[in-house]
Symmetry: C2
Subunit: 331 residues, 2 copies
C-alpha cells in the first residue's frame, strides 16, 4: 500500500492524456499511489502505450473535461463530471491527499477553493510559485489567485509561504519580503504599506524588496498581490527563455559560434536547468484543505512527474497541518 | 549657436560630477548646447580634467544638491538652490529645452512636475522607459511616477507613449498593450478593465499583454500603473544581469568554458549591449512642459551622453508638441 495517494487530472494540459499518464507512471514507480482521473477508455489506451506499468495506478472515470477557452469558474460549476472537478473531489472525499492538474489555471483555482474549501482562518488561498534565484529556490505568493488583495491576505501569504519554503524547498527559517518599488517602509501602494505594518517584526521579515531582488533571492518568500505576482513570474520566465533563445540564435549563426556553443554546452545546460520552471513542476494553492498543485499547460512529462512528487512530499511533510498551526500561532 | 540646449544636473548620480561632465562633453562635441548645473568650482575642476573641452558648455552655479537618502518631495521644496531644481528651472525659464538628471528619481519626478508643470489636459505625467525586446525597442509607461493609477491615466499614457515610440524610437504606428494577467478583455484588475474600455478601438491598441510578452515585444507601448511597471522594469533588468553573471561565472570556471567564452564573445557582447539599459540612456517623464529625462544613478558616461542626445532629439522632434496634439485629438 502506498503511504500517499495523489489524484491526477489526466485530461488537463496541452498534451493530455499522454503527459499526465507518463508523469503518473514515473511517480508510481517511486511508490506514490495514483488516482488517474479522466475518460477511462482514453486512459486505458494511454497506459497501454507503456510497457511495464507499475502497480498503484487506479483509473477514476470522468466523462467530461474543461477546455482552455472556457470561463474557469462557470465551467467548474457547470461540469461536475469534469476530470479536474472529479480529481479535486478525490481529496475532499479522503481518497487522495493531493491533487495535481496542468489544466485550466482559473478553473483549477476555482475547483480547489470550491471543493477542497479553505482551511479554518484562511481569508484567501494564495498561489505559491517556487522559482529559481542565485541564492537557491524562492517562493512567490500570490502568483495569480487574487488579482486584488488586502494587507491581511499578504500577511497570511507570508506564513503559508514560509511553511512551503521549509517543508518542500528545505529552506531553514526563510526570509520574507514584500514586493515593492523601494526598500523603505513608506514606499509603495497602500496595500504594501498596510502589509508592511502587519508583517513588521514577524519571523523572517526583511522588509520590502524590489523587482531586481527576485533573481538575487534577497528574500526567499516574496509576498505580493496576484496581479503583480502573475506579471512578475511570467516576465521572469519569459526573459530567461528569450535570452537563451537569443544566445542559441547567435551561436548557431557562425562556425565560431557553434564551436563556442558546443564547448559551453555544460554551462548553458546547467543554467537552463537551474532556471527551468519544470524543475519545480507546479505551483501550490496554499490555504485549502489538502494539497492542490497547478502545472503549466505546456508542462512535459518531467514537469508532471515532479509536480506529483512535490504533491506527495507536501502530504508527507504535512504542509497543510503546518499552515494551520502557523496561522494559529501567527508565524 | 546650438539649435538645442540641454540642462544637465551635474551633481546627480553615483559618480557626479565626473560622469555628468564627461557625458556633457561628449554631447557638446556633437553640437548640443549644455547648461551644466552644479557647484561651479567642482565643475571647473571636473572640466579641467578633460583636454579639448568643446564650445557650447555653460556652467550654471547651484550651491546645493539633493542626496540619495533624502525624501525626494521634501528635498525639492526645501532646497531651491539644489542642482536638480536649478536645472529644471532652466527649462521653465526657457534657457534650455530639456533637462537630464541621474540623481534622486523621486526628487526628479517631483522637481519636473512642480517646476516644469503639466501640459494642459494631462492628468498625471508618466515615466516612460524605453526597454529592449526581440522585436526592437519598446516603451513601458508608467515606470514608477504614479504607484496608484486610474484608467484615465493609462489611456493618456498610451497616447504619450506612442508619441515617444514614433519620435524617438522610430517605430511606425506603435502597437499599444495593457499589462495584465490574461489576454481576454475581462481579465485583470478593475484598473485594467477600465483602461481596456477606454483604449478599445484607439489607434494601435492590441488588447492585454502578459509579463512574458514584454521580452517578445508583443506590444511596443506597454501601459501599466507605476507600481507594476517599476517592479517589471527592475525585474527585467535584474534577470538579464543575473543570467549574464551566471554565464560568466560558469564559463570562467573551467578551461573549456574559457575557450567557449572567448569564441562566443561577439555573441554575448552583442546581446548584452542589446539588453543594456545604458543603450537607451534614461527614462522620460512625459506630460510636462519640456523634456525631462531621468537616468539610472549608476549610469556611466555612455549612458549619460545617450541621455543628453535623446533629450536633444526629444526637443528637435517636438515630442512635447506632439503629445499636446495627440491628447487633444485623443490618439
Amino acid at each position: 500500500m502506498p503511504d500517499v495517494v495523489v489524484a491526477v487530472d489526466a485530461m488537463g494540459g496541452d498534451k493530455a492524456p499522454q503527459v499526465p499518464v507518463a508523469g503518473a507512471i514515473a511517480a508510481a514507480r517511486e511508490g506514490i499511489g495514483i488516482r488517474l482521473v479522466g475518460d477511462a477508455a482514453a486512459l486505458e489506451k494511454a497506459l497501454g502505450q507503456h510497457d511495464d506499468v507499475p502497480a498503484g495506478i487506479e483509473i477514476v472515470h470522468a466523462a467530461e473535461r474543461i477546455h482552455a477557452a472556457e470561463d474557469g469558474v462557470k465551467a467548474v460549476r457547470a461540469k461536475p463530471d469534469a476530470s479536474m472537478v472529479v480529481a479535486c473531489r478525490q481529496v475532499h472525499e479522503g481518497r487522495a491527499g493531493a491533487v495535481v492538474s496542468a489544466g485550466h489555471t482559473g478553473a483549477m483555482l476555482a475547483a480547489s477553493t470550491l471543493i477542497l474549501r479553505r482551511l479554518p482562518g484562511v481569508i484567501r488561498p494564495g498561489l505559491a510559485v517556487p522559482m529559481p534565484s542565485v541564492a537557491g529556490p524562492i517562493v512567490l505568493i500570490d502568483g495569480g489567485a487574487n488579482a486584488e488583495c488586502k494587507p491581511e491576505y499578504l500577511a497570511q501569504f507570508a506564513v503559508m509561504g514560509r511553511v512551503l519554503g521549509r517543508d518542500i524547498l528545505g529552506i531553514d527559517d526563510p526570509t520574507v519580503g514584500i514586493l515593492s518599488i523601494g526598500e523603505e517602509a513608506g514606499k509603495g501602494t497602500d496595500l504594501v504599506q498596510g502589509a508592511y505594518a502587519l508583517l513588521d517584526g514577524t519571523p523572517g521579515f526583511v522588509g520590502n524588496v524590489e523587482g531586481r531582488d527576485i533573481p538575487k533571492g534577497k528574500a526567499r518568500i516574496i509576498v505580493t498581490d496576484g496581479f503583480t505576482g502573475n506579471v512578475a513570474l511570467k516576465l521572469y520566465e519569459g526573459t530567461a527563455a528569450m535570452i537563451f533563445q537569443e544566445i542559441r540564435r547567435g551561436l548557431t549563426s557562425s562556425m565560431r559560434g557553434k564551436v563556442a556553443g558546443a564547448l559551453g554546452m555544460p554551462v548553458f545546460k546547467g543554467l537552463r536547468k537551474q532556471l527551468d520552471p519544470e524543475e519545480y513542476g507546479s505551483a501550490y494553492l496554499l490555504g485549502v484543505r489538502g494539497i492542490s498543485m497547478i502545472g503549466h499547460g505546456n508542462t512535459g512529462t518531467r514537469g508532471m512527474a515532479n509536480g506529483i512528487r512535490r504533491a506527495a512530499q507536501g502530504v508527507r511533510e504535512d504542509v497543510t497541518g503546518h499552515i494551520q498551526a502557523g496561522l494559529a500561532a501567527g508565524s
